[in-house]
Structures are given as structure tokens and as C-alpha cells.
Amino acid sequence: MSAGVVLRYWAAAKAAAGVAEESFTAGTLAELVDAAGARHGPSLPAVLARCSYLVDEVPVGTRAWASVWLPDGAVVEALPPFAGG
């Protein structure tokens, strides 16, 4: 069961994807990450693998990506590791 979702990239993810956000069709977060990685070639997958994710502003936390079902119209955000201060 796939959904139309928007994936928003931040910092290193945006740099690797070359775009701020774009649409995908994916049922789970795992499918979405694979699809985005495939679409943008070599460096993005490594960054996405290190990202934490928000789905409609709610942190995914430690849940397994394959078990995170995406509602239709969801906005998913890819946040690379933080490096403040």
C-alpha cells in the first residue's frame, strides 16, 4: 500500500541530493529512503543511512524504518547527525 509523500532534505542530505525536497511514492520509511538513494546516486545513500527522520514533525526515533508506515501526503524530513556548539 503506497502513499504519495514529500521528502525534505536538510544540511548534508540537501547537499547530496541537490534539491531541498521532492515527491515520492512509498509505503514505509525504508522504501522511501531506498527510493531517494536510488534517485540521487552515489553520496546520498550514505548520508540518508546516518539521518534521523521526522514524519509530519514527529521523530521516528529508534523504530525500525521498515515498520514506519507513511500516511498519504506525509511530509518526511531527513536530518543528518547534529553538530551544534
Binding site: 536538510w10 544540511a11 548534508a12 542530505a13 547537499a15 547530496a16 553520496s43 550514505a46 548520508v47 546516518r50 514533525e57 524530513e77 536530518l79 543528518p80 547527525p81 547534529f82 553538530a83 551544534g84 556548539g85
Partner: protein, 142 residues
Amino acid sequence: VGERLRLAEIRATALTVDEVLEAVAGPRAGGLAVFVGTVRDHDGSRPVRQLAYSAHPSAERVLHQVADRALSDPQVLAGAVLHRVGPLQVGDVAIVAAVACAHRVDAFAVCRRLVDDVKSQVPIWKHQVFADGTEEWVGAAT
């Protein structure tokens, strides 16, 4: 802002230590620990020419939550934390955190925890341009 947390902001303009000192000053404070994080001219062995921080829109809200939790220690009288975003030069202040307690051992311990928590939990990213022109998003392994 919680009554312990006096100031918690993410800002695109220069940070000063004074405003943080004033925010946590008080008659009952005996020990005040302050941390000032500045842009270093090197990262490991590589000389850094320029650096920029960027933040997720939720960063200030998360900073408040993180600071409130770190300051929930009953010994804490007051605390404050500022984080800079945007382009910075070497020597510019990126973060200032201050914690006031009756005793210095608590002030140091809580201030350290506050800075550690901000670094690990607040969605802020650091982009570095090295002297040789190469660049890097810190921690993103690209």
C-alpha cells in the same frame, strides 16, 4: 521560559557572554559556570577558513526542551544558553551556556551536561570550509 531557564535562543547575530551572565545573575548564586564555544582555526589537523551553522525550524523549541531538562537538577538556580547560526569567522562565538548554583561543583556539572545535550539533541548542523577550499558537513561523513 521556565523559571530556572532564563534565556534560550538560536540567533543569526553575534552572541555576547555578558547577556548570558546578566540572565543568570542572582543573590543566591554562589557559583556560575560558563561555557563559550568559539570557532577554531583548525579541525584536527586541517586549518579551517570559514564555518557556518544551520538549524532546523524546530531547533529553538528543542533547545528549550533540552535546556529545561538539563536545568531540572534541584541545585540549579538559573541557566541560559544561546546558539549562533549563519556564517561565522574564526574566533566568533558559536555557543554560550551558563548555569548558576549555590556551589561550583553543581554549576560545572550541570553546565557540562547542558552543552553536551545541546550538541547531541538540538537539530543544528555545522558546515566547514577548509583553507584548501575543500568543505564538509561535520558528522555527516561526506
